[in-house]
Amino acid sequence: MLRDLTEYAVMNLRRRSLRSWLTILGIVIGVLAIVTMIAIAEGLDMYIRSQLSIFSEDAITVVPGNIKDQLYGSLFGTVAKLTENDMDAIARLPGVDKIGATLEGRADITYHGQVMSTYAIGMDPVLFNEIYSYELDSGRWLRDNERGSAIVGYSLANDVFDEKIQVGRRVQVGNRSFNVVGITKKSGGGIMAVADSVIYLSREDGRQVIPEFTGKNDLTEIHLKVAEGTKPGTVEEEINSELMRLHKVKEDKKDFSVMTAAYMGEQIGNITGALRLFLGGIAAISLLVGSIGIANTMFMSILERTKEIGIMKAVGATNKMIMQIFLIESGVIGLVGGFLGLIISYAVSMLISELGIPSRIKAEVMIGALVFSFFVGVIAGYIPAKNAAKMPAVEALRFE
C-alpha cells in the first residue's frame, strides 16, 4: 500500500514538475548552505588539530595567565608569570618524566652585516629530543647542556637574508655569536608557519640574548612529558594544586593554565563548535525559508486538488491514506532537495578546499542532512496534509 501511495505521490509531483522543482530548489539552497557552512567549520577544526598534532598525548604545557580569559575575549595582556621556581616545583611532582622550559621574545640577528629583528626561543634541548616532534631540514638538534649553538627556522635561513644561512655558519644574536648546527624543515604554512622564522637557542643562551629575560628568572612556557603509565589528567591536577599553592591563588583566580592534549582538543572543539553552531544557524534560516516553500506548495496543491481528494475519499481512501499521500509528496520534495543539496555541497566543498579554505563533509553530516531534509519536508507538509485528510468528502466533491 505504501509503495502504491508513494508511486502515486511521485506521479503527482511529476505532473507539476516546474513547481515541484522550484520548491525542491528552496531545499537545495537550504541544505547547500548548512552543509557547506558545517563543512567549513569542520575543515577548520580538522586543520587546527592537524597543526597542533605536534603536541603528543603525553605532553603537558604550562603557560602564564588564564587561557580561558584569553580565549573568551579578554583584551588585556596577562601580567602573570611563570618562574624557574615553578618549573623546579613541577619537576619534583610524581609522574613527571621529562621537563623543559622556553623563553620567547624578540632579538636582533646579524648575519653578513644585515640586522633583522626576529623571534628567538631559548629552550631546553629535551623539548626537541623528547617532547615535541619537530623535524630538521639539515644538521642536528641541540645537545643537552650545549651552549653557543643555534638552530635556524627554514624561512629565516633561506628567505630573510641576502645570503642563505647554512649549517656551520655563524650568526650573531644580540651581542653573542652562535654556531648554526641545524635548519628546521619547512612547516608547510598555517598557524605553525611562525616556527619557520624563529631562531632556537639553549635556554641559558636565550636568557642572555633575549632582552626581556635578561637578569630575571621568568619563563614563557613549561613543557613536560608524563611518565609512562601515568595519566596526563592526574599530573595536570597535581600541577594545578602545586602552582595554586605557590602562587597563593584559588581556582577561580588562577594566573596560569595547564594544557594537556585533551584540554587543547576540548578548547578547539569549543571554538569550532561555536563556529559550527553560528554558521549552521545562519544557514538554517535558508532551510527554514525552503520549508515554508514546501508548506506553501502543499497548501496550493491541496487547494487545487480538493475535488481529487473528494473523489479519492468517495472511492474509499481513508483520512490516513490521504494524509500519507501528501506527506510522502512533501517528504519526497525534502529528500530530493536534500540529496541534490548534498551533491552540490560536495562539489562546493571541493572547490573551496582548492581555494585554500579548509572544508570537510563528514559521513554523519551527509546522512544527517538527508534525514533532516526529509523530515523538514514531512513537517512542512504536515498541516497541509492534515487539512486535506480532514476535508469532508461531500464538500471536497462539491468544490469547483
Binding site: A314, N319, M321
Partner: protein
C-alpha cells in the same frame, strides 16, 4: 457479486425482482447546513431493497443529492439513523465509512469526477489500490471492467481524450472496481447527449440484471425513471410520493 439466493429473474422474464430485505435503511434522517439555517433533509425514512433499482426524482434543491450522499455514506445525517445491511453507520467515524464505501458502494457523478492526470485504466484501478489489491491484479481487473463497459480500446486514454459518454463509462467501471453491492449515481446522464445517455443506462441495466447490483439513481429525467423498479419523489427535503415496486417482492 450479489448473492444468488432469492433471485426470481428467470421466471419474470427480463425483470429482476429485488430481495425483501433492506440493504439501505434511513430512519428519520435530517440534514441541516449552516448551523441549522438550511435544512436539506427533513425527516426522511426510506429503505432500499437488496438488488433493487431505485430512482430518486425531484427538482433542484429538493434534497435528492443530499439523500444519495447519506445513503452512500459520503455524508452523515444531522439527526436520525442510517443502516447499511443492518449495520448502523450513522455513528461511524470517517475511516470506518471510507472502508465501508470502498467495499460496498460505487459512485457515479454527473460531472464524471475522473482524476484528470490518470488514464482510464488507473482511474478504474484506484479504488482497488485503496483496497490493497496488488498492481498487476488491479490493472488486469480494471482492463476487464473497461472492456465490460464497452471501452476496452481506450484504457490508456486520459479523461480529456474521452467523450462524455466514454468518461461516464469509465466512471461506472471505477464504481464497480471493488465489486460493490450498491451503485449510487447522481444525475449520471445529466451531461450526456441522448445517445451516450442511452449507452450509459444500458450499462446500469446490465449490471443490475446480470450481476444483481442494487442501483440508486438520482435524476430528473423521465426516461431514466422508466427503467427503475421504484421511484421516489423529493420535495423540500421530504419524500413527497412513492411509486410501487414494478415487480412484486417475493
Amino acid at each position: 457479486m450479489a448473492n444468488d439466493e432469492g433471485k426470481t429473474g428467470g421466471a419474470a422474464g427480463k425483470k429482476r425482482i429485488a430481495h425483501e430485505w433492506n440493504t439501505i435503511t434511513l430512519k428519520g434522517v435530517k440534514k441541516s447546513y449552516q448551523e441549522g439555517m438550511f435544512r436539506a433533509l427533513d425527516g426522511v425514512s426510506v429503505s432500499v431493497k437488496k438488488e433493487e433499482f431505485l430512482v430518486i426524482r425531484g427538482r433542484s434543491g429538493s434534497g435528492k443529492s443530499t439523500l444519495m450522499h447519506i445513503m452512500g455514506c459520503l455524508d452523515q445525517p444531522s439527526e436520525g439513523e442510517v443502516y447499511i445491511d443492518e449495520i448502523k453507520t450513522s455513528d461511524m467515524d470517517d475511516d470506518e465509512l471510507a472502508r465501508l464505501r470502498r467495499k460496498k458502494m460505487g459512485f457515479v457523478f454527473q460531472a464524471f469526477n475522473l482524476i484528470p492526470t490518470l488514464d482510464a485504466l488507473h482511474n478504474v484501478a484506484m479504488p482497488m489500490m485503496f483496497e490493497g489489491i496488488g498492481k498487476s491484479e488491479r490493472e488486469e481487473r480494471a482492463a476487464e471492467l473497461l472492456e465490460s463497459v464497452g471501452i476496452g480500446s481506450k484504457i490508456r486514454s486520459y479523461p480529456n481524450e474521452l467523450s462524455g459518454g466514454e468518461k461516464q463509462r469509465v466512471a461506472i467501471a471505477r464504481a464497480l472496481a471493488n465489486d460493490p453491492d450498491i451503485i449510487l449515481a447522481d444525475e449520471p446522464t445529466g451531461n450526456l447527449d441522448s445517445v451516450s445517455a442511452k449507452q450509459v443506462l444500458e450499462v446500469f441495466d446490465e449490471f443490475h440484471h446480470k450481476h444483481g447490483k442494487t442501483i440508486v439513481v438520482v435524476t430528473h429525467e423521465e426516461y431514466v425513471a422508466e427503467m427503475a423498479e421504484r421511484t421516489l419523489y423529493m420535495k423540500d427535503g421530504k419524500i413527497s410520493q412513492y411509486s410501487e415496486l414494478k415487480a412484486k417482492v417475493k
